[in-house]
């Protein structure tokens, strides 16, 4: 084990995987200077222009090129400068990558890794702050990964790069400078599609990923002092989602809170609640969601903080559900749910 920031952990994985296969290539904007958020610092110097390819700001063009490279047997890692821009390439990542092999009935590897930094980080505004997983989890065949700690970021990124499936790997901006223990082993991988019990608990199941996992851990400490024990599950991948792990936890606790940073409507949490409720034998589960209101991220970081879900919102949701049988979603600032 070594102590690393998430940024450094990701950088080390990119290095080891570019070294592992010469036909692993890293494409993106400003990659000669480390790319988005500096995650790729030093890669160009080490691997050169045949493996680290700086592209114009032409996402459709170079995401399409990633597919062409994968079809030719390469293993492209393609970086989106801000995950919000994945909407620019929705055609490539939703219509092309996951459908390609299916519509041609050709099983086999299509190892494309899409990386992008996402999430609110104090006032970057409506197009550089969104959590993107809820836009993507509806797409059949697309793997969506959302690490919530430095070690998870390392093990999951390596798994994503080595996976034969087209995979979107979403890095929350606020995690980049979070420090944690990371295995130094260059073969360290965590399984995709498997959730992780971050903290065992008795009373309430809290599902949280990416930055919200950190908020959930803060909430757990507060709630413990009040005599409420929460079990935190980080699904690690949004798609495929480890519903079994969540269901078995809720079977014990009977209460579910899903905490996510994205807006409430059509959220990943909605799908998790639906699946868990469908699995209830007696209809007695209580469940709710913590999410952002259906609003844009304001440029004012003061205003943004008012609407971002956090540990306090998780505590509120947990307290409410442990007291009452009525479930209603908790969103900050009493914003209207629509």
């Amino acid at each position: 084990m070594t102590i690393l920031t998430t940024r450094a952990a990701l950088n080390a994985v990119l290095r080891s995987e570019l070294k592992r296969h010469r036909e692993t290539v890293f494409l993106g904007e400003t990659t000669r200077d480390g790319g988005a958020a500096g995650v790729g610092i030093g890669l160009y110097e080490q691997f050169g222009p045949d493996q680290v390819i700086e592209t114009p700001v032409s996402e459709n063009g170079f995401f399409g090129a990633a597919l062409g490279l994968a079809l030719a047997g390469f293993r492209p890692i393609v970086e989106c400068y801000s995950a919000d821009f994945l909407l620019v390439v929705a055609n490539e990542i939703i219509n092309d990558f996951p459908k390609w092999r299916q519509q041609q009935a050709r099983p086999g590897a299509l190892p494309i890794t899409v990386r992008g930094c996402m999430g609110a980080n104090r006032g970057l505004g409506p197009e550089h702050s969104q959590c993107m997983e809820s836009y993507l989890h509806h797409a059949p065949g697309l793997t969506v990964v959302v690490p919530g700690s430095p070690a998870d970021a390392a093990g999951l990124l390596r798994a994503a790069i080595q996976s034969p499936e087209p995979t979107v790997f979403l890095e929350h901006r606020r995690l980049y400078d979070v420090v944690g223990e990371v295995p130094e082993d260059e073969d360290f991988v965590l399984p995709l599609g498997k959730g992780y019990v971050v903290r065992r608990g008795r009373d309430v199941t809290v599902v949280a990923w990416a930055w919200m996992r950190q908020e959930a851990e803060l909430a757990a400490t507060t709630l413990e002092a009040e005599g409420i024990s929460i079990e935190i599950i980080d699904p690690r991948t949004i798609s495929p989602m480890d519903f079994d792990l969540i269901k078995s936890s809720v079977q014990r606790t009977g209460i579910l809170v899903v905490a996510e940073e994205a807006p409430l409507t059509g959220s990943v949490g909605a799908e998790i609640l639906a699946r868990v409720m469908e699995s209830s034998r007696d209809g007695k589960y209580r469940a709710t969601r913590v999410a952002m209101p259906n609003a844009i991220h304001p440029y004012s970081s003061t205003m943004e903080r008012e609407i971002l879900p956090d540990a306090k919102a998780i505590c509120d949701a947990v307290r409410e559900l442990t007291r009452s049988t009525q479930s209603k979603p908790v969103i900050a600032h009493n914003a209207a749910v629509n």
Binding site: G61, G64, N91, R106
Partner: protein
């Protein structure tokens, strides 16, 4: 009176015939063009009988521009084709039987009812597949070309496209990358006068799909898209350039869609006189005349015609005998 492609053919700038097509290549081209034509005619006949011909897009009138650019390619060269006409695929070595089984959603084709004729693929023949949204192809083609360059092979990528795909911004992005990185990419614009019910000149300046790309300082050739010789020589020059690392080229072929756009289209918006004018320049008639000029006798051409007829009968017999694809045939493949 509005000018149409049929009227304005004054700005064709044909390349000198650096690589004239050989008699053998011309016979092969003619055979595949005729096979494509007869298949389309049979599909149209089935439609008139009220039968289903799923996603059929007739390539009648465009056969020269589909086949001639593919004839000089090697097996490892990659080809991205369009949804219109099936002759690109035939020319790259895919059998008409496979194409037809895909079209009629049978087992035994390349995709077992999942992609139909819109997504025929044979990666082993340099046909990795087709995207269905128009435009995405340019990025994919650039990526395939980048792969060839990174591996230092001399393989090239040929990307056919029509008016719809060529209107999307990704063409600019892919072309910029292709020029920037000197990628072995050849774009073949199929200017057939119409984009469904829109005339090409309503969509592109002066009705030319390639005019705006002249600014890229790469070869941008406008050729007679019904003239096998003109296409072949332009294409071989572009292939030489790509194989020698000099980068991309664009070839725009001027041709004409003689049939309606799609199975449910009556094509009544296409003036009869315009169609009649282009029928006089039917690429098959021109190719046959060229073969005769090279000394081939009518009997030889008739023999090709008979062979094609037999192939068509075999293919439709196979389609009739084949089983419909069902979900259970592919379930393990597509659900997780």
């Amino acid at each position: 009176m509005e000018s149409t492609l049929a009227d304005s053919r004054d700005d064709l700038s044909l390349r000198t015939h650096a690589h004239p097509i050989s008699a053998q290549e011309l016979i092969k081209t003619y055979h595949l063009m005729l096979l494509s034509r007869r298949f389309d005619e049979r599909c149209t006949q089935l439609l008139r009988q009220g039968k289903l011909v799923p996603h059929y897009h007739s390539g009648v009138g465009q056969e020269a521009l589909m086949v001639a650019p593919v004839i000089p390619l090697k097996r490892a060269d990659q080809m991205i084709y369009t949804h219109r006409g099936y002759a690109h695929l035939l020319a790259k070595g895919i059998s008409l039987k496979e194409i037809a089984l895909d079209m009629f959603m049978k087992v035994g084709g390349t995709n077992c009812g999942l992609g139909g004729v819109m997504h025929v693929s044979r990666p082993d023949l340099g046909v990795p597949g087709r995207e269905g949204v128009f435009g995405g192809r340019f990025g994919i083609a650039a990526g395939l070309a980048l792969a060839a360059k990174l591996r230092k092979t001399s393989d090239v990528v040929v990307c056919f496209y029509g008016e719809a795909a060529g209107s999307r911004g990704i063409l600019y992005e892919a072309l910029n990358m292709a020029v920037l990185w000197s990628l072995p990419l050849i774009l073949v614009a199929e200017n057939n006068g119409w984009s469904f019910t829109s005339r090409t000149e309503w969509l592109y300046p002066q009705g030319r799909m390639s005019r705006v790309w002249r600014g890229f300082d790469i070869p941008v050739d406008v050729v007679d898209g019904n003239d096998v010789d003109a296409i072949f020589s332009s294409m071989t020059a572009a292939i030489d350039r790509a194989r020698s690392g000099k980068g991309p080229s664009i070839i725009e072929g001027l041709t004409y869609r003689l049939d309606p756009h799609i199975w449910y289209d009556d094509g009544l918006y296409q003036p009869k006189e315009e169609i009649a004018r282009w029928r006089e320049r039917d690429p098959l008639v021109l190719a046959a005349a060229r073969l005769r000029a090279m000394g081939r006798r009518d009997g030889e051409l008739d023999a090709i015609g008979e062979r094609v007829q037999a192939e068509i009968e075999d293919v439709f017999r196979a389609v009739n005998e084949a089983r419909d694809a069902r979900w259970q045939d592919v379930q393990g493949l597509v659900v997780r």
